[in-house]
């Protein structure tokens, strides 16, 4: 049978979209703090103020006529990323991995003409990628030199680590790897592979692509069963600290591992998707309920991470 019964899902503790919206996002994420996560520029500034490492900020384009400054900004860079400050769902992110004599190339080797960059940034400023079409700014960031530890795990793109942080506790995590299908992007609905991670150790538990379980990367055929994410402690701590930083109770943190700088906070998400449950092969609801039921004094970041490692560890499902 292709469909599950609602009570089966409920027994498996699967969080659904409506409950996420009403019971978690609506309840724990105060409206007034949304701009801290929705505007990547503000997130970046907050992170810097809190001593959280983020990708280099090369520049910000605020006006149409500033678009012409981009070539000068990136002149001595090997690559760069242009993203809308208020974009959502990975929309409008342009990744240039190679700059060669004023010519720009994407990860798959396609050339991007300056004209296309102008148009992309112009669209971004007009608000094409932002929620509700509000005018936006474009952020130009340094390219991340991704940690070779993930060679073969990801295809044409940086794998990123998504952790769901609930009231400051990292409750569930996954590694998102781009594939040929996802065009270098790490968004699962675009075809990236999602690998569930054990909160205690950072080891892979389970993997899916397009909601279907896989055990090898579809392009590189790299086995996904014994991945160990390095810097796991730092990742957990960074994610947990993001709670104090933006004061959002139900939060998705996206981080990447830079070869030289270690974990970098890429962005925060006040409406993290639910596919992380499929990647983990497990419903998230029992963990959320567990955190909700906690009483007593507010824990420090270290205590929360220790608590989460102890209570939310898991068995591999390969």
């Amino acid at each position: 049978m292709k469909y599950a019964w609602p009570w089966e899902l409920s027994r498996a503790g699967v969080l659904n979209m409506n409950k996420r919206n009403i019971g978690y996002i609506g309840k724990y994420n105060p409206r007034k703090h949304y701009k801290r996560v929705d505007d990547k520029l503000i997130t970046k500034q907050l992170a810097l103020a809190n001593g959280i490492a983020v990708p280099d900020l090369i520049g910000v384009v605020q006006e149409q006529h500033d678009i012409e400054l981009i070539p000068a900004m990136v002149i001595d860079r090997s690559g760069f990323v242009i993203k809308p400050a208020k974009g959502s769902g990975g929309k409008g992110i342009l990744v240039i991995t190679r700059v060669d004599n004023g010519r720009y190339y994407k990860a798959n080797g396609d050339e991007v003409t300056p004209n296309e960059i102008y148009r992309h940034v112009s669209n971004t400023l007009s608000g094409l990628f932002s929620l509700g079409g509000r005018p936006d700014v474009a952020i130009v960031e340094g390219l991340i030199v991704f940690d070779p530890v993930f060679n073969g795990v990801s295809y044409e793109g940086v794998p990123d680590i998504r952790l769901i942080v609930f009231k400051g506790f990292p409750v569930m995590g996954m590694l998102r790897c781009s594939t040929a299908a996802s065009d270098g992007k790490a968004n699962l609905h675009q075809g990236a592979v999602g690998i569930g991670l054990d909160i205690a150790t950072g080891k892979s538990l389970h993997a899916v692509q397009f909601d279907v379980p896989v055990d090898k990367h579809p392009d590189t055929h790299f086995p996904l069963s014994d991945i160990q994410v390095p810097h796991w402690e730092t990742l957990l701590h960074t994610a947990s600290r993001a709670y104090e930083m933006c004061e959002m109770g139900y939060l998705g943190t996206d981080m990447v591992l830079d070869k030289n700088r270690g974990p970098l906070l890429l962005e925060l998400n006040a409406r993290p998707g639910l596919t992380i449950q499929i990647a983990n092969g497990k419903g998230i609801l029992p963990r959320l309920k567990h955190v909700e039921s906690l009483k007593g004094a507010t824990m420090s970041v270290d205590q929360r991470v220790e608590y989460a490692k102890k209570h939310f560890c898991d068995q591999p499902k390969f």
Binding site: A4, A12, V14, N16, I22, G23, S122, S126, I278, G281
Partner: protein
Amino acid sequence: MHSRKPFYIFVFLLFFVGIGASIYRGIEHNVPFLPGEQVQSWAIDAKVSFNGRNQPAEVQFSLPNDPAFDILVENTTSPGYGLTITEEQNRKAIWSIREASGPQSLFYRVTLVPTGKLEIKSEQEPTDTEVYLWPATEKAAAEQIVEEVWLRSATNLSFAKQLLDLIHDKNQSQNMSLLLSTNTSTKLFLQMLHTKGVPARNVSGLVLEDQRRRQTLTTYVQVYQDGLWHLFDVVNNKQGRDGNLVLWEYAGGSVLEVMGGRSSQVSFSMLQDTRSALATSIDMMMTDDALDFSLYQLPLEEQSLFKGILLIPIGVMVVVFLRVIVGIKTSGTFMPVLIAMAFIQTTLLTGLIGFLLIVAFGLMIRSYLSTLNLLLISRISAVIIVVIFIIGLFTLISFKLGLSEGLTVTFFPMIILAWTIERMSILWEEEGPKKVFISGGGSLFVATIAYLAMSSELVQHWVFNFLGIHLVILGLVLVMGQYTGYRLTELKRFKPLVGEK
């Protein structure tokens, strides 16, 4: 989290008031619950005629006031006469003139709609009726009969029934034959009832029959019992009334009184008519002044505008249902409702074909525009203008080919189309044609469902005539906004989480 109780009470109130108001509308104002319902109505002409005697004349004519019939329209034709209509329990038309000479004709025309309320109620018991005094020649015979029947009866009603039986008995006693030789049966029946002080009265009724002319009123007798007046047709030996009898006058007075004239008489002609129940009840509200705060007051143009606007809640509800409960993705939240509104103008098939053609051509033009590197605003504006060209072109082509359906394509909201084209084009560039078909298809699917709901005759009838239904829709939308269960599509999406066992 604060209590949900006030919310549920509020929603309950919405449902309660909404359904209550609709039922009230239906029952009190006779607004039909189903569209296209028909009711019978009767057009009755009463012609009062008399001969004037070259002196002032005043004519009092009773008007019908029967709960079994509602008066839809009434008017009179009486050139030269002054007219007053008294609005008491016994409604009367009073015509007057300084000088009337020769044959005079006054007309009263009324349209009656049956209500089905056949009972004549009386709030208070009629005060003591005058006891009838028999002439000496009849006294003994009458009193003997009355006494006999009285002893055999229990109530006013059974007394009346037995008297009626006796009057129509084939083997009549001599007493009865004697009485009937000098009295009509109706008069005798009433007199016998009055002998025992039973409240009873003469009433004048008109039997309704299609296309009858020169009819006269028939006299019936009403007998009072337990708050109700029961009707007896003495001549035809029948008790009770049926729906085709109008009680023209039942207060015990006379139907026609003419002062300053002679050989006065009244005759009726009538015609049965079938008309829309809805139109009838609206006309009825017009006459009753029950219309003070109602959409029917608006000019017809605004009414038809509102008929369209009031369909939007239905479309919106369908979108909320399909997104929150079913989980279908659409591009743009309420774009499907607007497309569905356009479908109502174009009909479904023409609308779908027109929409697909316009969007397909628009996407082609848009792909050229994208190479020009325009600012977003001017690009969208260009798309809007091009969409107008496309619509114009299609309309022209279909006109030349003689396809009148094509002309309705102009009903599509152009700004919406332009935005749709722009979004789809971006989606195409970013995520490929497959996503475009999925989200475009989802939108069209939702639009089609919304169209089917909105174009239903029953729905259109309800949303306009029973405004309470909108409160119910509001309640439903609010309740759906509280739904935290799984969407239907999530049952499939999350299947892997329970699958392998």
